[in-house]
Assembly symmetry: C2
Homo-oligomer: 166 residues x 2
């Protein structure tokens, strides 16, 4: 358990992190902004999946996911095939062109990091990765924990706009 001053400093670094994200954003291929890049990356890593699963992994609303996916589908980088098990649903899959785009992406971002972090040790990079992974988990866990503990104080953070039950 840390003190207030420590938390304030951490928050400041969260804010300053935006500059890093923006610099990474500048080297992305044309037609492939960071939202699209995140979708390609997740499809490459986890394989075919439905919209709802992708929205969950992205941790954004499904309406946002839908837009990113439409952008990628328009460019032929992913395919949306109907799900035989549920006709409301669609299965997302990387196309060969999408895989090529993903490779290009990975190449560029990897090179930028290798350049910027040239004086970081392997262990330091791993440490930052682990801590950021854990950070995300700590924020996620809190939602699940609240949901499990009977009375949910947090409004059941889902990946979509709550349905209006009129």
């Amino acid at each position: 358990m840390a003190g207030k001053a420590q938390y304030e400093e951490l928050i400041r670094q969260f804010s300053a992190f935006g500059a890093v994200k923006r610099e990474l954003g500048r080297i992305l291929p044309a037609e492939c902004p960071s939202g699209s890049a995140a979708v390609l990356t997740l499809l490459g890593r986890h394989g075919d999946m439905r919209m709802s699963r992708l929205a969950e992994l992205l941790a954004v609303d499904m309406s946002v996911t839908s837009r990113h996916v439409a952008h990628l589908a328009d460019r032929g980088w992913i395919e949306r095939s109907p799900d035989p098990a549920d006709k409301r649903s669609r299965i997302l899959r990387l196309t060969p062109a999408g895989q090529a785009q993903l490779d290009e992406l990975s190449e560029r971002t990897t090179q930028l990091l290798a350049h910027r972090l040239s004086d970081w040790t392997d262990e330091e990079v791993g440490q930052l990765t682990r801590l950021m992974t854990r950070l995300r988990a700590s924020f996620d866990d809190c939602r699940s924990a609240a949901a499990r503990s009977g009375a949910p104080p947090v409004p059941e953070q889902s990946t979509r706009t709550p349905a209006i039950t009129t």
Copy 2:
């Protein structure tokens, strides 16, 4: 020097970090979105300063800084007094109301972090803070280093739109 797989994993965590930022954004006071919060925080930490200095600390274009500052000035949270030494310039200063807003901000974000990171040790929080600080430095240094080394391959990343020398 790390490997490609490690860099790819780090990039993934950078992307996922957006969810943390958004959750922090949700608890901000009304009329005080994250851009405004960043300005208040920097003024509280570094004291009075000019627009250009603030833009540099925020690492965004001065046009962006100007908008955030106007938002805060409209609400009486900061004052813009003319700089006696340079009539083009303005000195930014927190008002008492601005300080109160900053305190409220700090209170809320600190409490959220204390809740979410309740099972983190003091040392772990410090480690994440240090690594993120260093990350930002590694990205900044690269720019300065490039600028110092004679031929600047990077277009001299300044905090403002380059003047058009017609």
